[in-house]
């Protein structure tokens, strides 16, 4: 591919990646795009991406072909290979001729050669000291990858990394916000139930609350569940256990 033609494609790819970064973008879609574009823009035959899961282990997330998926899954199972090395060291592993790495990753190399790959490169997905995965590139022909291709591939990996870290922060925010709404709704339900109990019994709010809490405890129920039952009418204030009574005694 002509240098200028590749530059145009590369620039388009970055625009395309940025374009996917809407608030609720899909990580797998993004990384699949990166894998596919690596194959189109760089002098490589196949590409795959692994990401670290919350539990700490790597998972194969995106791949440009089934062969790469198979090789990468094998790499994880056999616990040896370039992606694992790039991930654990945070440094690139480039231009590894598969015929000559037998000593380093014997099982991985024979599996990759069995899929017609001749060389492999793995780049860490890394930002500010945090490594979240690795991008691996496979070639079916011999020869070292050009320096400019390595730089371009690392740039693609970097953009994807920034996007994913941003996405995780946003997901975390979403989760906390949902928890906050949930907690506020529980508060509301409890206050409503206090009102129902107060009206039905003539007690004041504090006494009504104590009555509700006493009943919930006696029945090993969460306060909010007892409150919900009061609101939907399945638990009548008249049926409450009175203070001093205990079902378990």
């Amino acid at each position: 591919m002509e240098g200028s033609e590749r530059e145009v494609l590369l620039a388009r790819t970055f625009v395309e990646i940025v374009d996917t970064l809407v608030d609720d973008f899909d990580v797998v879609d993004l990384l699949t795009l990166v894998a596919d574009r690596c194959v189109e823009v760089l002098e490589v035959s196949a590409a795959g991406l692994m990401l670290v899961a919350p539990e700490g282990d790597l998972r194969v997330v995106a791949y440009s072909s089934e062969a790469v998926r198979a090789v990468e899954l094998f790499e994880l199972q056999s616990e040896e290979g370039p992606s694992l090395d790039a991930f654990s060291t945070g440094a690139p592993v480039v231009n590894q001729d598969l015929e000559r790495v037998n000593g380093r990753w014997p099982r991985f190399a024979s599996k990759a050669i069995g899929c017609d790959f001749r060389s492999v490169h793995a780049l860490p997905m890394r930002l500010r000291g945090v490594t979240i995965g690795a991008l691996s590139l496979f070639r079916t022909h011999e020869g070292a990858m050009e320096e400019s291709d390595v730089i371009a591939a690392q740039a693609l990996a970097d953009v994807a990394t920034v996007a994913i870290l941003h996405h995780r922060a946003a997901s975390e925010a979403q989760l906390v916000n949902e928890q906050l709404n949930h907690a506020l709704n529980s508060r509301i339900v409890i206050e409503q139930a206090k009102g129902v109990v107060a009206e039905a019994t003539g007690l004041d709010m504090e006494q009504a609350f104590n009555r509700l809490r006493h009943h919930a405890r006696n029945h090993n129920q969460r306060l909010v569940d007892a409150a919900r039952a009061v609101i939907d009418g399945t638990l009548k204030p008249e049926a409450f256990d009175l203070p001093g009574s205990s079902r378990r005694s």
Partner: protein, 227 residues
């Protein structure tokens, strides 16, 4: 940076929500500010307010379900009303008259969001009309972002199903209104949701704040059933 130094100006290492609203108003050179939490396009309550007018602006929106925060949250964009007395677009027919009467001339709503998480909105008001300058607008956007992050940071460490204590400190989650809803629901044999609508309708038609109606119900001075 200016925002952060203001937030810690009182030497408090844990910026509480009260300080947060003051800073929102100070940074954007407004008369007052309030931060409202919302879910499903309806106000849940306010985390903080700077003064009585801000309290009223939040209260009106909670009672009426309309106003700058409600619109900002729904649309995900800033909602700007530089002159409530002479608005470019006619909106908030119930909200505007009492807000004006309380001394509000310009009001602005900015959505609170972090990524796809939409928390509610910040409102700013000023006692005289006028647009936000570009700087004020930019500062308000920063403050809305700081406020959203602060709310989430406070809630992040709260136990499950519990509202963070820092968030509750200066908050008004309309608990009395919900107690009154429970009572009215029982009086009329209707759902608590319907009961809240009845309370709101009563407040609106008697020109009262929802909280006044709710307090009268809880004090057993006002009943909704004919008995």
């Amino acid at each position: 940076m200016r925002v952060l130094s203001l937030l810690s100006a009182d030497g408090n290492t844990e910026p509480g929500t009260a300080r947060l609203c003051d800073v929102c108003a100070e940074v954007s050179a407004m008369s007052g500010a309030g931060i409202m939490l919302m879910a499903d396009n309806a106000p849940l309550g306010s985390v903080c307010t700077t003064n009585e007018v801000s309290v009223l602006i939040e209260e009106l929106q909670y009672t009426l379900g309309e106003g700058p925060c409600v619109d900002a949250h729904k649309s995900g964009r800033p909602v700007l009303e530089p002159d409530l007395a002479d608005p470019a677009t006619l909106r908030w027919l119930a909200f505007s008259p009492p807000a004006l009467a309380a001394g509000t001339r310009a009001v602005f709503g900015f959505p609170l969001q972090v990524g796809a998480a939409r928390l509610g909105a910040m409102n700013l008001y000023r006692d005289r009309p006028g647009r936000l300058s570009d700087d004020q607008h930019a500062d308000a956007l920063v403050m809305a972002d700081v406020a959203a992050q602060a709310v989430l940071a406070m809630q992040a460490n709260a136990p499950f199903d519990t509202v963070a204590r820092e968030l509750e400190a200066g908050a008004n989650f309309h608990l009395v209104e919900h107690q009154a809803s429970g009572m009215v629901a029982t009086q009329l044999g209707i759902s608590v949701g319907e009961a809240l609508v009845r309370l709101r309708a009563h407040a609106f038609s008697h020109d009262l704040a929802l909280i006044e109606v709710a307090e009268a119900v809880v004090a057993r001075q006002l009943r909704f059933d004919p008995s």
